[in-house]
């Protein structure tokens, strides 16, 4: 390969020191994103997906301990000097936040905030140039009357509009990688699809790679190329998006899929996964999913399964090779 991979995360671990001891939020995950690709990272609250994203951006508080390796275009980001990270943030790597209301400074106009993003990475831009580029960016995400709305404050926009502005801001400096942390979670269902369309269209038009963190399989299904499923700080399954939905190998993934209504199957009943994920402070020694897993055997409670190839995916399950026919009725 002529060019090093866009993003290569190896054995990323993040732990927080708290009064009640050390809590590991991310326990050794690998992530790869190549140019122009959309990687979906799926998992429920507390699975460590957002923390992993923030670790890549270097946004974690000082009491977080991050180990492993995060390479961006071959450059090691972990332990990189602050000024280098500052140039990357908002420049080559940009982030889209979950709640577009709280992620904007309430006392700055959205025009000023986009202009700040531009200015931070190119000090030579004139005021007129900044303004023109800001309008251009707002038009890119289909904000009507962009030139007039540039002096509005965030509270004067609707939730969907704000998220569009956030996307415009994120792509302002033509980043190579976009990290989206639950970009549609805070929005109305009707607006979610629009925002995903905008995001996907821009991603293809500007040839940006996208890491899309979400708890919503539906978001991933329509947007991602590949999917990593996270559970309790680990990746439990990795697959291409079609393979994942057609032939999920990890019981957790199956449970997730069974809990989402689908148009293409006849199943009338939605199933939920019983129980809750173990708290990060007291994870079982074996498979973290074992206490909730219908397939759990003695082996699962003592030995932690590693990610290994099963059919077209990688799954961290001792029974990953068992065919779905055997399992489907159990779940």
């Amino acid at each position: 390969m002529a060019q090093p991979a866009l993003l290569e995360v190896r054995d990323l671990r993040v732990s927080f020191r708290t009064r009640s001891g050390e809590i590991e939020a991310v326990s050794g995950i690998d992530l790869d994103i190549s140019d122009g690709e959309v990687l979906g990272i799926v998992g429920e609250s507390g699975s460590g997906k957002s923390v992993a994203l923030k670790a890549i951006m270097g946004l974690l508080p000082p009491q977080a301990q991050v180990t492993g390796s995060i390479r961006f275009r071959g450059r090691q980001l972990l332990g990189a000097p602050e000024h280098e990270m500052r140039a990357l943030r908002g420049g080559k790597i940009a982030m889209i936040f979950q709640d577009p209301l709280t992620a904007f400074n309430p006392v700055m106009t959205i025009g000023d905030q986009i202009a700040e993003m531009l200015m931070l990475h190119d000090r030579s831009l004139s005021r007129a140039r900044l303004r023109a580029r800001t309008v251009e960016l707002l038009e890119l995400v289909s904000i009507p009357e962009a030139a007039a709305r540039i002096d509005s404050y965030p509270y004067q926009f609707s939730g969907g509009m704000r998220q569009r502005v956030m996307i415009a801001m994120a792509v302002a400096n033509n980043p190579d990688l976009l990290l989206a942390d639950e970009p549609t979670t805070a929005l109305d269902v009707t607006v979610q699809a629009q925002i995903l369309d905008v995001l996907r269209a821009l991603q293809q038009k500007l040839k940006i790679s996208l890491a899309l963190v979400t708890h919503d399989l539906g978001v991933v299904a329509g947007t991602a190329d590949r999917v990593s499923v996270m559970y309790s700080g680990r990746i439990v399954e990795k697959a291409g998006v079609d393979d994942l939905f057609a032939d999920p190998r990890h019981p957790y993934t199956r449970g997730l899929i069974a809990s989402v209504p689908r148009l293409d199957t006849q199943s009338a009943q939605l199933t939920s996964i019983e129980g809750a994920p173990p708290p990060p402070s007291s994870r079982p020694p074996g498979c973290s999913f074992a206490p909730r897993c219908p397939l759990a055997a003695q082996l699962c409670r003592t030995e932690r399964p590693a990610l290994r190839g099963a059919a077209k995916s990688l799954a961290a399950c001792h029974f990953a090779e068992d065919t779905p026919a055997q399992i489907e009725p159990v779940i």
């Binding site: 951006m57 946004l59 908002g90 936040f97 709280t102 992620a103 904007f104 400074n105 006392v107 931070l120």
Partner: protein, 280 residues
């Protein structure tokens, strides 16, 4: 959000919904107007002996004359030239010094932050008037020294206030978003945190204007502020105290202090009602 507040503030005032605020603003505006235009008023010179000594209020001297035969009304009105600028200077200096130190302490924390806050604790452990007296006495009499003493007493309040605000605001998501956009720490602090910290500072500062006027008068009263011929309110009340049965000597400056303090308190209270969602 600030715009919404501004809008509410102005409409509330113009609708008369906040009567005390309007009243307070009117009183303050009157005093500021007096302070700025006093040389043009057809009054007796404040330092000249213009009548017989210790005369009760009359048509010629509305507030009477003091022990040296000076016009009390003229001296009272001229007093605004000292009390109001000193209050402005002291409050601004305290807000800037205390605000900057509090912001540094709240945002960067660490050893320097802890050191600043311990200094605040130590300063606040003294009764304010006592500390102000000690500092003013060691610097010698004079209004400038009294002002310095008052800043020494006042900055820790703002350091605490701003630190608490910074600690709260810095956890908001837009601050993380600014960092994610590549902003450096100074930019994050000055552009994305401090502009959201000003509401309680504004309310407190407004209230403190009155308190500073009061403390300045207190220092002058005990001889640590303005020196004798100066028509400063505290010093004038000290003069009046020597002539207990000639009540009008202290009445003029006393009413002046009262009016200014009440005016600023009304405005401060009104501002808090309008800006602080917790009081609604």
């Amino acid at each position: 959000m600030i715009n919404a507040h501004r809008l509410r503030l102005s409409t509330a005032i113009f609708k008369g919904a906040a009567l005390p605020v309007t009243l307070g603003l009117a009183v303050i505006a009157l005093w500021v107007f007096t302070m700025l235009t006093i040389p043009l008023w057809p009054l007796d010179a404040p330092l000249d002996m213009v009548g017989r000594r210790l005369q009760p209020p009359s048509a010629a001297h509305w507030f009477g004359t003091d022990a040296l035969g000076r016009d009390v009304l003229s001296r009272t009105l001229h007093g605004a030239q000292f009390s109001i600028p000193i209050a402005i200077v002291v409050v601004f200096a305290a807000v800037i010094i205390g605000g900057a130190l509090g912001a540094i302490s709240g945002f960067f924390g660490g050893l320097i932050g802890a050191a600043i806050m311990r200094l605040v604790d130590v300063t606040l452990a003294f009764p304010p008037i006592l500390l102000a007296m000690a500092v003013a006495a060691s610097l010698g009499p004079g209004l400038e020294n009294a002002a310095i003493a008052m800043v020494v007493v006042w900055w820790p309040l703002y350091a605490r206030l701003v630190r608490a605000q910074v600690l709260e605001v810095r956890e908001r998501e837009h601050v993380e978003a600014a960092v994610a956009a590549g902003a450096g720490p100074m930019r994050v602090l000055c552009l994305h945190i401090l502009p959201l910290c000003w509401t309680p500072v504004l309310v407190n500062a407004t209230m403190d204007f009155g308190q500073v006027v009061l403390l300045a008068a207190s220092l002058s009263f005990i001889g640590l502020g303005a020196t004798p011929p100066t028509p400063e309110w505290g010093a004038m009340i000290a003069d009046g105290a020597k002539h207990f049965y000639h009540w009008w000597i202290a009445f003029g400056p006393g009413m002046a202090i009262f009016a200014v303090v009440v005016g600023f308190n009304f405005v401060g209270d009104g501002l808090r009602d309008l800006l602080d969602p917790r009081t609604e």
